[in-house]
């Protein structure tokens, strides 16, 4: 059974709908990428999971329960964490405090989850007392993901994790994505760097104008000539 399922979701942020019946699914321990041209509704589809979009029609199922209309806090409590594309750290808080804020809902001792995050992202361990705003783009992305992992989520939503990073860091981020999955966290990510994202992903969805266009295992989509010509820049 799927961990997460979008079932013909239609909706948007206000009057005009952006999504027109988008369906997708993520299984436990799976990396799923949403790719497609600008304005395809990629980020909107992901935000619909997190209750940030008005879902007018269709359903968002998580572990068999409907998520639409729920408050953000409830969704976080169920085990979904979201890493926004930009402004995804608290710049004046230290690395360690950023992680603690990710675990706001978690009572008790935070040493164990912190240790796990530092194990996953060694560069952060050395900089735990440093304000997150002083870190490089790649390290900041690690803080953002680390913050989201503090609650031991079942599903991590990543909105363009490699946007604005240099090619060197892009490879690093995708390595991290794999490492996070190996921790037992399913990942749904939206990506502009479609080729690399599909290479990492178990499965991918190509969206265009708010609708499903193609879907399948990442490698198959990469090999598909039609997809490549239309969406991956040849």
């Amino acid at each position: 059974m799927s961990l997460l399922e979008l079932d013909r979701v239609t909706g948007g942020y206000g009057e005009a709908d952006i999504l027109h019946g988008v369906s997708l699914a993520v299984a436990s321990d799976e990396i799923v990428a949403i790719v497609g041209p600008n304005g395809a509704g990629k980020s909107t589809a992901m935000k619909a999971v997190f209750g940030l979009v008005d879902v007018r029609d269709g359903h968002v199922w998580f572990e068999g329960e409907a998520l639409e209309g729920r408050r953000t806090v409830d969704i976080v409590k169920r085990g979904i964490c979201f890493v926004p594309q930009t402004e995804n750290v608290f710049p004046t808080l230290t690395v360690e405090e950023n992680l603690e804020m990710g675990a706001f809902l978690r009572p008790g001792d935070l040493d164990e989850p912190k240790r796990k995050v530092f194990e996953l992202f060694p560069p952060l361990a050395e900089r735990r007392k440093q304000p997150a705003g002083t870190l490089s783009g790649g390290q900041r992305q690690m803080v953002a993901m680390g913050r989201a992992l503090m609650l031991d989520p079942k599903l991590l939503l990543l909105d363009e994790p490699t946007a604005g990073l240099s090619p060197k860091f892009i490879g690093q981020i995708f390595d991290i994505v794999r490492a996070v999955r190996d921790f037992g966290v399913a990942i749904l990510m939206v990506e502009q760097n479609a080729k690399q994202a599909l290479a990492v992903a178990d499965r991918g969805y190509v969206l265009a104008t708010g609708q499903n266009r193609y879907q399948g295992p990442g490698k198959e989509l990469l090999a598909d000539r039609e997809v490549a010509e239309m969406f991956l820049g040849g």
């Binding site: 997190f50 953000t72 806090v73 976080v76 409590k77 979201f82 926004p84 402004e87 995804n88 750290v89 608290f90 710049p91 004046t92 808080l93 405090e97 950023n98 603690e100 804020m101 990710g102 706001f104 809902l105 304000p131 705003g133 002083t134 913050r147 609650l151």
Partner: protein
């Protein structure tokens, strides 16, 4: 020597501005609006202490905490009763309603205690001298009290979950919500902190000068100047900003006629808004 004397007065004035500016800066960072009623919260603290110390003739060490608690309670009550309703609307609604609250609080103070100028201890107090420096014991008390409160605020903001969540929300309210932070509770803590410090600042101001209903309103300008100087939304910057504004205001006595010194914070505010609108410490993270 005169410079040292003025710097000392600046330290006293700066203590009052710093305590006021922390609250203004936090409410701006967390709720996104300039709270025009903050000065009148200060006046509330001053008058509550007057009630306890002068009218009920209880000791001063009791009057200060009562004033602090009462002002914090008023700040939370105003938020629950008024501001909370406008949270989802445009911030300008909050701005205008805080302006209205300023008028209401000031009028209530005038209604209860009257428009006359009053003092905690009427009569002239003689200055003490130490190595040529003139000071009064209450001025030392203000500086010590402000430093103690700043330390408490620092411990609260850096050591407690609620304090860290406040800083997180001032940094990035959207991300705070996405992280599962209980934003309504953080808002309440913000009013408790800002209100408590405003209450203390009001008492200190009344000790240093006098009580009158518009005493807090007149502090708005230097307090906003301090908050903006330190980078609005940054509580630590607001403390530094408060002391800078206090010192510069007093030092301006060297070159300006006394009646013009109140213009100094305004001039600093204008210059800051033109050249460094994000504060003196823009880019620095504290």
């Amino acid at each position: 020597m005169e410079i040292v004397q003025l710097l000392f007065y600046g330290l006293v004035l700066g203590s009052i501005f710093a305590l006021g500016a922390i609250g203004v800066s936090l409410t701006f960072g967390i709720l996104g609006f300039a709270n025009f009623s903050h000065g009148d919260l200060m006046a509330t603290g001053a008058y509550v202490a007057f009630l306890v110390y002068v009218q009920l003739a209880l000791p001063f060490w009791l009057a200060l905490p009562v004033a602090i608690v009462a002002t914090a309670a008023l700040a939370v009550a105003i938020d629950r009763g008024i501001y909370r309703r406008f949270r989802r609307g445009p911030p300008v609604l909050l701005l205008i309603s805080s302006f209205g609250m300023a008028l209401i609080v000031r009028s209530l103070i005038q209604l209860i205690w009257g428009p006359e100028v009053m003092a905690y201890d009427p009569g002239i107090q003689l200055a003490e001298r130490f190595m040529g420096l003139r000071y009064q014991n209450h001025q030392l008390g203000i500086i010590a009290g402000a430093i103690a409160l700043v330390i408490v605020v620092h411990l609260f903001l850096s050591r407690t979950k609620a304090g860290k969540a406040m800083r997180a929300m001032a940094d990035n309210p959207t991300l705070a919500q996405l992280s599962g932070i209980d934003t309504e509770r953080v808002v309440m803590w913000t009013w408790i902190t800002g209100g408590a410090l405003a209450g203390a600042a009001g008492v200190f101001l009344a000790i240093d000068t006098q009580l009158r209903p518009e005493m807090g309103w007149f502090q708005l300008l230097p307090i906003f100047a301090a908050a903006i100087l330190g980078g609005i939304g940054k509580p630590y910057g607001a403390i530094v900003g408060g002391y800078i504004i206090g010192m510069v205001t007093e030092l301006s006595n060297l070159v300006l006629p006394a009646e013009y010194t109140t213009v100094v914070p305004f001039a600093i505010l204008v210059v800051m808004l033109i050249f460094r609108p994000t504060g003196l410490f823009a880019g620095r993270s504290f």
